[in-house]
Amino acid sequence: MKRFLIIALLVMATLIASYAQAVTVAVFPVEDLSEGRNGVNFTLTDFLQQNLQEKGIEVIPTDRIISFMSRNRIRWLGFLGTSHIYQVRDDLGADFILFGTVSQRQELPLAAFGMVLTLVRASDARTVWTEVGGMSKADISNFLAIDEPESIDDLFPVLAQHLLSSWPDVLEVTGQNPCIVVETSHLSSQHVKPGDEVSCSVKIRPPAGVETITQVLLKVGEDNYLDMVEISPNSYTVMWSAPDAEGFQPVSLVLKCQSGKTFIYFVGNYQIDTHSPKLSLKVAGKQVNNFIAFNDRLPITPIWQDPEPLSHWSLFIQNMGGQVMAGTENKGSLPKRFVWKGQRPDGHKAEDGIYEIVLTVWDRANNSTVSTQTVFLKSNPPVPVINAAVGNDNLIVTMDTEDEIPVDYWSAEILYSDGEVLLQSQGADLPVDILIPFPSPSDSRKLEAIVCMKDVLGNKVQKKIDNLMQLVNIEEEQPEPPKQQEWVPEF
């Protein structure tokens, strides 16, 4: 009787043990980080599979797993998303998934091997067992160096065996209730104006046979519930108009189940923006006669009154006829500074004149603001006007400029034709009269003049007059107005 009882107990224990390990494990190809982000170690994968089979665990062949991975476009090793974990259970019939990652595998300077093993239950995507270990040649020192590892090929079986030694004796195939997986959610747009259309679409994966979803709602704001429409199996969408009130509106997905349970998932916020961006333009030119004038490069700086992110912007420079001289546009934030080199689109210098800079910005809700600034381009040098007249004892040379841009300085040098300097003069104001004493009558040398002018924008000119007296003559020998050549009817 006693013997029978012992045998019965042994049989029961064996049955329980065999039942406990009667599980199917999918050993995914082991990720090998020592080979880079996409490294894979099939030797270790096979080693793990063999070890599990020796424990009496049914293992899914690698080729089926690789086929599953390619079918589902799984590009990464070492982990899976919850949806794919459920799919492994459904497609491959696995109760558990074993993920392995080789954290290090090196021969030099000392052979070292490290790995992470994670066992995930396929029914509820929960981690049920995990082990981490690292081993170096220096970690194993035996008496008289007998059986000491020489390379990583000797190390990894030791380490893998060590990690697998804590493999759970009993593996519960059925875990907690599988959760609902929100595979994707998309809220569009997240920045809108009042009245704009907002939409939200979600794709969910309800767990098989556990919870039945009866209603899919979208909670917008505090108490506004919208029914979502199923556009394809398990894909839902809804559209609505943004309210007038400015601010952020939280959006959550609400799933009501037959069991009475309600699941809420925060999808995001969307912003109702009623204000246009506030900014102005600052250009670094010279203030001349109510215009900002420049001669070469014009730095243009947008100045924010209330900075905010932008969706896109454009900047154009056009002449008074509306012809665009230069322009640029882009998405995202504004550059800190623009520079116009006073050129046309073909690269040639733009003509002197008035131009308008137009900067348009759009915020993320598509509210736009236009900032303009008128500038005056003057890249040509000043045109000196020089006249001479005979005074009592002097020759009077009058200097002026045709431009409206004031001069910064001028200089005049009166000299004889042989280079002897008679007079030098300079100043900042125009017009100006320069008195030159008459040379002695016996002096037959010509009087020359070199005149320099620079306007306030930096445009410079130098003009040489070979014979000053000629200017006097021109004044004196001014031609009379032409006589009338034809008959004009009289009234």
Binding site: W76, T82, F113, T118, A125, F266
Partner: protein, 202 residues
């Protein structure tokens, strides 16, 4: 001092030396609390992709996988699938080396049904060559966010090297980055529990 006294003195001296050397290894992680911890027991977390600020290739992935494994193994915390985190990163258009904003953390937390979200940055990871041994070095910074509010709760910095764990001679030395990452992960988790984080179910 006779021979017996000398022998007792020697044994006492040796024990004192061993204790002294072994006590040198106690370097706790530094923890900065930014927001009050509300005291719920933590059963589920999500790890954001760790950022590698070191020159050790894949150092971020090594630490991330090990930290996730240790959270699950020693703390019984359910760590959200890395695949789910990556999917939401793609959906929210967050680059792997970029940290999500507060709202994005809230979306992550809600979708993955976790209580905490943890980000990590490896500031240093290397294997220095010592005298006939390799001395691994690891410095890591972790940020713990409240998944509901998206706010930073704690920030933890921890830096150690394999030689810190030396007991005597070469005993106790940690020779691999993997082993050092595992030990340091355990120390960080223990520190969190010591500082008030409640273990799941307790």
């Amino acid at each position: 001092m006779n021979f017996a006294q000398f022998r007792y003195f020697s044994i006492f001296f040796l024990i004192a030396l061993l204790l002294g050397v072994s006590s040198c290894t106690s370097s706790r992680p530094s923890l900065e609390k930014k927001n009050a911890y509300e005291g719920q027991s933590i059963c589920s977390v999500a790890l954001l992709p760790f950022i590698n600020g070191s020159r050790f290739e894949q150092g971020n992935l090594i630490m991330q996988r090990i930290f996730a494994a240790e959270l699950s193994r020693i703390a019984g915390i359910e760590v959200a699938s890395e695949g789910d985190v990556q999917n939401i990163y793609q959906e929210l258009r967050i680059y792997p080396n970029q940290l999500p904003g507060i709202e994005q953390i809230r979306v992550l937390g809600s979708r993955l049904d976790v209580q905490l979200v943890i980000s990590g940055r490896i500031t240093e990871m290397e294997e220095k060559m010592g005298d006939n041994y390799v001395n691994p070095v690891l410095h890591v910074t972790l940020q713990v966010y409240d998944a509901k509010s998206g706010k930073t709760m704690w920030a933890t910095y921890h830096g150690r090297e394999g030689a810190d764990y030396r007991k005597v001679m070469h005993f106790g030395l940690v020779n691999t980055v993997t082993q050092l990452s595992r030990i340091m992960s355990d120390e960080i988790i223990e520190e969190w529990f010591a500082e008030g984080m409640k273990q799941c179910g307790k």
